[in-house]
C-alpha cells in the first residue's frame, strides 16, 4: 500500500501529471484504434511518412497564428492530406513505385519543416518537443484537442465500421457494391493525421509510428477477431502510455522514448508468451505433446503385457520395444498414473478400465489410418505403419469417426488385425 501511495497516487495530486495522464490515455486509444487499420492495410510506411510530414504544417500555423491549438490542428491535418495527395500524384503519373514516392515526399516535407524552424529564431518554437514529445508539458488546450480527436476517431470508426472492414479486406468487392475505396482511404488518412497531431504531444514526430503500430501488432498476436483487436490495441496503447509516463516522471526519462519502450516490451512479452502464438508457449506445448506421445506408446504396450507382470519386467519390455531408456519411461508412467489410465499396486503395474479404453482408441486410430492410406494409395505398404504411428497421437475423435464412416466400417486393417470399435 505504502508503495502504491508513494509511486502511483502521490504524483496524481499535481495538475501537470493529471493532464499528462488524461492526454496519455486519449492518445493511446486514438493511436491504438487508427493503428489497427494502418497495420491491416499494410500502411505503416505511410503512417511514418505522415508523422514527419505534418511538421511544416505545424510550423506554418505557428508563424501565422502563434501557439494556438486550433490552427496547429488545421495546419497539421492539411499538411498530412497534401502529403497523401502528392504521394498519390507522383505514384500515378510516373513509373515510380509507392514506397519510393512516399520516401521522397515525406523527407522533403520534413526537411522543409526543419528549414522553417531554423529561419524563425526570433519566434520561439521548441523543435525538440515536436520531435520527441513532452507529455509532462501538456497544456489544457492540448488536452482538449486530444480528447476531441479521440471522440472523432471513435465515432467515425463506429459509423463507418462496415466500410472500413470491407475496403480493408476486399477493396474489389467494396467497389462492386458501390463503396468508394478512395473516400474511405482519405477519411482514414484524415483520421491518421489527427491521431498524429494528438500523439505529437506524447511521443513526438519521430516515434509516433510506434504508437500506431506496436499496440495493434500486440493485439493481433492475441486475437483473430477485429473488434477484440481494436479493444486490446487501444488498451495496450493506453497502458504503455500510462506506465511510460510514470517511468518518465520517477526516473526522469524522456517521455516519448519511455512510452515507446514500454509498448515494445509489452509486444515482446506477447510475442514470447501469447497463449496461441507465443514462441515460448509453442515450445512448451511441443514438449508437453512429445511427453504425451511417449505416454501413449507406453500404454499401448502395457495394454498388451499380461496382467500381474512385475515392474521390472514391464520396464524391460517397454524399453526394448520403444528403444528408450528406463529413465524416460518412469515419467511417462507417472503421467499415465495421474491420468488414471494405469494403477500401481504393491509394485505391480495394472491397466485400469479407462486405460484399456484409451489404448483401444489409439489402436483403432492406428489401424483405421493404415486402412485409409492403403486405400488412397498415399504410400507404399512398408511405410504405412510408421505413418500411422505418428498420426494416431494427433487425430481428433470426430475425424476418426468420419474416417470410419467413409471407409465403410471395415473389419480388419491391411495387416489383417481387427479394428476395435466401441
Amino acid at each position: 500500500m505504502e508503495i502504491i501511495n508513494q509511486y502511483i497516487l502521490e504524483p496524481v495530486q499535481y495538475e501537470f501529471i493529471q493532464r499528462a495522464l488524461i492526454a496519455s490515455i486519449t492518445i493511446g486509444i486514438s493511436c491504438g484504434l487508427i493503428g489497427t487499420y494502418i497495420m491491416l492495410r499494410r500502411m505503416s510506411l505511410i503512417g511514418d511518412a505522415l508523422a514527419h510530414a505534418v511538421l511544416p504544417g505545424v510550423v506554418i500555423s505557428f508563424i501565422i497564428a502563434g501557439k494556438s491549438e486550433i490552427t496547429l490542428f488545421i495546419g497539421a491535418v492539411a499538411a498530412g492530406i497534401i502529403t497523401v495527395l502528392l504521394i498519390g500524384f507522383v505514384n500515378r503519373n510516373s513509373r515510380i513505385k509507392e514506397d519510393t514516392s512516399i520516401g521522397i515526399i515525406f523527407t522533403g516535407a520534413f526537411a522543409l519543416g526543419i528549414l522553417l524552424v531554423s529561419q524563425l529564431k526570433q519566434v520561439h518554437i521548441d523543435l525538440s518537443s515536436y520531435l520527441f514529445g513532452d507529455v509532462l508539458g501538456v497544456s489544457s488546450g492540448d488536452l482538449i484537442l486530444s480528447a476531441v480527436i479521440m471522440v472523432v476517431i471513435v465515432v467515425t470508426i463506429l459509423l463507418f465500421y462496415k466500410q472500413l472492414l470491407i475496403t480493408s479486406f476486399d477493396p474489389t468487392m467494396a467497389m462492386t457494391i458501390g463503396i468508394s475505396t478512395t473516400f474511405v482511404h482519405y477519411m482514414l488518412m484524415t483520421l491518421l493525421s489527427m491521431s498524429i497531431v494528438a500523439g505529437l504531444q506524447s511521443v513526438g514526430v519521430i516515434l509516433i509510428i510506434a504508437m500506431l503500430i506496436t499496440p495493434p501488432a500486440t493485439a493481433y498476436l492475441l486475437s483473430d477477431n477485429l473488434k477484440k483487436i481494436l479493444i486490446i490495441s487501444s488498451a495496450v496503447g493506453m497502458l504503455s502510455s500510462v506506465i511510460g509516463l510514470y517511468l518518465s516522471y520517477h526516473f526522469n526519462f524522456a517521455s516519448g522514448a519511455s512510452i515507446v519502450l514500454v509498448a515494445v516490451v509489452i509486444f515482446l512479452l506477447t510475442f514470447l508468451f501469447s497463449p496461441k502464438e507465443g514462441v515460448i508457449t509453442k515450445l512448451i506445448r511441443r514438449m508437453e505433446s512429445s511427453k504425451q506421445v511417449l505416454a501413449d506408446d507406453v500404454i499401448k504396450l502395457v495394454y498388451r503385457i499380461p496382467e500381474g507382470s512385475s515392474k521390472t519386467e514391464i520396464f524391460e519390455k517397454i524399453s526394448n520395444s520403444l528403444g528408450v531408456s528406463v529413465s524416460k519411461i518412469k515419467p511417462a508412467l507417472k503421467i499415465l498414473i495421474t491420468q488414471g489410465l494405469i494403477s500401481e499396486v504393491n509394485g505391480s503395474i495394472n491397466i485400469t478400465l479407462e486405460g484399456s479404453k484409451y489404448a483401444l482408441k489409439l489402436i483403432r486410430k492406428h489401424r483405421l489410418w493404415e486402412t485409409y492410406i492403403t486405400k488412397e494409395h498415399v504410400t507404399g505398404m512398408e511405410h504405412i505403419h510408421p505413418e500411422a504411428e505418428k498420426i494416431e497421437h494427433l487425430l481428433p475423435e470426430e475425424l476418426v469417426n468420419e474416417l470410419d464412416e467413409e471407409l465403410g466400417y471395415p473389419e480388419k486393417d491391411p495387416h489383417g488385425s481387427k479394428i476395435p470399435r466401441e
Binding site: 463507418f160 479486406f169 474489389t172 468487392m173 462492386t176 483473430d224 477485429l226
Partner: protein, 247 residues
C-alpha cells in the same frame, strides 16, 4: 432481353491493350464460361464489365442501365490468391459482407440478414465452420465461403473469376451444383475458366477471347477445334502437327 450489353470495350494497362473492341450481348438465365489462353484478358473483361477498370473506349450496360445503378443486382467472386488470409475475420463475417450491398450506409446487419447468412452457410455445408478464422480452412472451403458471400447478396448476375482453381473434388461438385441451381432460378453466371477439359460440361454458352472476341455462342456450337485453335493461336495443335511430321 439482353441483361449485359458490351459495346466496343477496350481496356489497357500502361498503354498496352488487354482487351480490344469487345462486343457482347448476354441474355438472362445462362451459365457462361469465359475461356482463352493466359493473358487473353479474361479477368480484364470481367472487371471491365463490372466497371472496376477504366475503359479506353466502349460502353457497358447492365439491365439497360449504367453499372452504378445496377450494383445491388450483381455480385463478384474474385480469385482466391488476392486475399490476405491472415486477416482477422471469420467465415460468418465474410459472408455477412454480401449483405452490405443492401444495408443503408450507416446501418448494421439485422436479424433477417443473419438468417440469410445462416441459410447460405447451410446450403454450401459450411455452417459448422461459421466462427472459424479463414486461414484455418482448406482451399476448397475458402472458395465455398466466397460463393456463400455472393449468394447472401441475392443478386441476379454472378461474376466468378476462376472458381475451380485449387479446389477439392467436393467443392467442385458443390460449385457445379450451385451453378445449375442458380440457372434454374433464372440467374445469370459469368465464369472465367482456364481449363478446356470440362468447359462443355460446365457451361451453356462460351465466350472465347484472346484480346479480341473470337466467338460467343452455345457451348456445343462454338467449342469446335477450329475456333479453339483460333483462340489459342494454334498452340493446341502443335501435338497434332508433330504427329503428322513423325508419321
Amino acid at each position: 432481353m439482353n441483361i449485359i450489353q458490351v459495346k466496343n470495350l477496350t481496356i489497357s494497362y500502361n498503354k498496352k491493350p488487354a482487351i480490344k473492341g469487345i462486343n457482347l450481348n448476354i441474355e438472362a438465365g445462362n451459365v457462361i464460361g469465359i475461356i482463352g489462353p493466359n493473358g487473353a484478358g479474361k479477368s480484364t473483361l470481367l472487371k471491365g464489365i463490372l466497371g472496376l477498370l477504366p475503359a479506353d473506349t466502349g460502353d457497358v450496360k447492365i439491365f439497360g442501365r449504367d453499372i452504378d445503378e445496377s450494383r445491388k443486382r450483381i455480385s463478384y467472386i474474385p480469385q482466391r490468391e488476392q486475399f490476405d488470409w491472415d486477416f482477422p475475420i471469420n467465415v460468418e463475417d465474410v459472408v455477412m459482407m454480401g449483405r452490405y450491398a443492401h444495408l443503408p450506409a450507416f446501418g448494421f446487419p439485422k436479424q433477417i440478414d443473419r438468417e440469410i447468412v445462416n441459410g447460405v452457410l447451410q446450403k454450401i455445408e459450411m455452417d459448422k465452420y461459421s466462427r472459424r478464422q479463414i486461414r484455418q480452412l482448406s482451399g476448397g472451403q475458402q472458395q465455398r465461403v466466397f460463393l456463400a458471400r455472393a449468394l447472401a447478396q441475392q443478386s441476379d448476375i454472378y461474376f466468378l473469376d476462376e472458381p475451380f482453381v485449387g479446389v477439392d473434388a467436393k467443392t467442385e461438385r458443390v460449385i457445379f451444383k450451385l451453378m445449375k441451381e442458380l440457372r434454374e432460378e433464372g440467374k445469370t453466371l459469368l465464369v472465367v475458366h482456364h481449363d478446356l477439359g470440362k468447359a462443355q460440361e460446365y457451361f451453356d454458352k462460351l465466350v472465347l477471347i484472346n484480346q479480341t472476341l473470337v466467338a460467343y455462342g452455345n457451348a456445343d456450337e462454338v467449342f469446335t477445334p477450329e475456333i479453339i485453335d483460333r483462340t489459342y493461336g494454334g498452340r493446341l495443335t502443335i501435338l497434332q502437327r508433330t504427329e503428322e511430321i513423325i508419321s
